[in-house]
Subunit: 258 residues, 2 copies
Amino acid sequence: MLTLTPLSGLPLIQPGDDLSALILQSLISNHQSLQTGDILVLAQKIVSKAEGRRVYLSEVVPTPRAQSLATQIEKDPRLVELILQESREVLRTRPGLIIVEHRLGFVCANAGIDHSNVEPSSSKDFNRSDEWVLLLPENPDASAERLRAKLEVETGTRIGIMIIDSHGRAWRSGTVGVAIGFSGLPGLVDLRGQPDLTGRILQVTQVGAADELAAAASLVMGQAAEGTPVVRVRGFPYALREGSLQELIRPKEMDLFR
Amino acid sequence: MLTLTPLSGLPLIQPGDDLSALILQSLISNHQSLQTGDILVLAQKIVSKAEGRRVYLSEVVPTPRAQSLATQIEKDPRLVELILQESREVLRTRPGLIIVEHRLGFVCANAGIDHSNVEPSSSKDFNRSDEWVLLLPENPDASAERLRAKLEVETGTRIGIMIIDSHGRAWRSGTVGVAIGFSGLPGLVDLRGQPDLTGRILQVTQVGAADELAAAASLVMGQAAEGTPVVRVRGFPYALREGSLQELIRPKEMDLFR
């Protein structure tokens, strides 16, 4: 049985906040425990906020390249500048949308930067001049690793930590939760060569286990719910091990749709 | 809280089997109930088997087009013939792999047909001449609808039914569970225009809720597990409504990666 429990009551995260301490408090106030084998899934947003990844658009100076692309796709040139800075390569564009290979290796829209769900510094004084956006964490695998180390020491457990975002997809409508970094769990689970119940050998099957879990956790978090950006997973069916986002990045030369 | 419970002990499914009766028996033997709001997720394989979608390769006569493609990509021409019959369009090929738009509208590898996990008619007498494959259900939305109607009458509940398969993806390694048909639940959940907790209006966000659930259920089923092809989901966070796979199909002209 797989159980996903959202942790409610987490405060709005501020730069410099200690997520491990806030999560431990949240577990207590939710009357929930953490035990070996559990995985905590975090929304990217709270990790970015805690790490101070906020950028004020008024402080961004777009390059000519960003200006030109911004005009072409009708998007704020300062935002386009940030998207380009956070990306290795632009794959496709259309009005309002830039699909990139993010510097972290995955393909996503607008380098994972958008305005939605980002509150102004002060909601009463909100105006265009203090408009800001959140970049993705500098290194989500490392963020997960640090958080895991703290929580494992505090709780005496062996757990996994995953950071997720919502991505659009080729071919199918709707965003789904995907892993953007993790520690202590497998990205891919390789079932190649294992006999199935009838004794025949399975053909190539590598399961994107971390992404399946990310989608599950995303379902529980919802989208508008700044209040439940942490989900505790109990009953993950595969053995925990060291793992990295790189497992989930399809090499460019192996991708028929790049 | 979202809970996914695999139903164990389902027998190997044969053509003509009544899945609703077998699932009800399985619920009882697992000491599990079905209540309004629950969703049952079924692996495609058992639906295809019950519906007699097995095709003996010895009875398939490849067209010249299938023969030619089979030579090019080093695949059994009879299997290629079936893949072409089940598809609207071939998008990409490489050795051993044909990416198609399936007649059901989604993009997938080899039209969802493969040998893995398909046992011979009799494991003792297995030989090449009775090798067979399973096609996807004729109309998975309708299969889900029929099963739902029976189970709702039998149990006096209002539930959802989803049929899933494992698909590879552009850009990311590893297969993930995706919906190939469903009844009684939303495919997409439209959060556009809803204010978030800070009072700002969310930008475009349509969540692929059915696919997030498919991924979650796939995680619980595993891959080699013919024994747990049914998962009961309790706590799905969105309201149940009528729904269809078509919600999840990105229109070709809206797809930057076709």
